[in-house]
Amino acid sequence: MIWGSVALLVYSIVVCQLLMRFRWNVLPATLAALTGWLAVALGLHFAAGAGA
C-alpha cells in the first residue's frame, strides 16, 4: 500500500501536468496516467523486495 500510494502521488502529478500544461482532455489523461501508476507501483513493489 505504501508503494501504491507513492504511485498515486506520481499519477496525480502526471494527470495535473497533462491537463494544465499539455491541455489534454480529462479522460485520455487519466487513462494514460493509469499505465504509469501500474508501472511505478509494481516497479517499486518488486524493487523493494515485495515487502511493504
Partner: protein, 158 residues
C-alpha cells in the same frame, strides 16, 4: 481559508453519476480482493491505492464545470480541465496521507491491530491536513504576486 462541507454540490450530480462511482469503487475493491487471494496480500495491498474511481470522478467534475459555463453562455472546456487538475492536486495531497496511514499501520500492526488502525487513521488525518496546509501556504504568495502583476498589467499597456 476555512475548510467546510458543502452539501449543495450534491445537487450538481445526476443519480447515475453516483451509481457509476459506487460501482467502480466496489469493482476496485473486488479486483483488489481477487489479486490479493491470487498473488498474496502484499501485491493486493499495492492495488488498494489504485485510482479506480478517479477517472470517472474527474470526468464528471469536468462535465459539471463545462455545463455551468455553457449555461452562463461561455465555453467551459478550459475551466473543466482546471477543475479536474485541482481534483488531481487534491488526490496528490491525499496520497501523502495514505502513505502515512500505510507506514504507521505496517510499523504497528504486529503489536496490536486495533491500536495500529487507530494510530494509522490519525496519521492519515494529520498528514493530509499538514500537506494541504503546506500546499495552500506555498501557493498563496505566488497567487498574490500573480494578481499584483496582472493588476499592474491591466493598468498599463495591455
Amino acid at each position: 481559508m476555512i475548510v467546510k462541507v458543502s452539501f449543495s454540490s450534491l445537487k450538481d450530480g445526476r443519480w447515475y453519476e453516483y451509481i457509476i462511482r459506487f460501482v467502480l469503487g466496489g469493482a476496485a475493491t473486488v479486483v483488489t480482493g481477487v489479486i490479493s487471494s491470487r498473488f498474496g496480500a502484499s501485491v493486493g495491498g499495492v492495488f488498494l491505492a489504485l485510482p479506480a474511481i478517479f477517472c470517472a470522478s474527474a470526468t464528471l467534475i469536468q462535465k459539471h464545470e463545462e455545463r455551468r459555463k455553457r449555461e452562463a453562455g461561455l465555453g467551459g472546456e478550459r475551466r473543466g480541465q482546471q477543475a479536474a487538475a485541482l481534483d488531481a492536486a487534491g488526490a496528490a495531497l491525499g496520497s501523502l496521507g495514505m502513505a502515512a496511514f500505510a507506514l504507521a499501520f505496517w510499523l504497528l500492526v504486529e503489536r496490536q491491530t486495533l491500536m495500529a488502525f487507530a494510530i494509522a487513521l490519525g496519521a492519515w488525518i494529520a498528514m493530509s491536513i499538514a500537506a494541504w496546509w503546506v500546499w495552500r501556504h506555498s501557493r498563496l504568495p505566488r497567487a498574490r504576486a500573480g494578481g499584483k502583476s496582472r493588476r499592474s498589467t491591466s493598468n498599463g499597456f495591455a
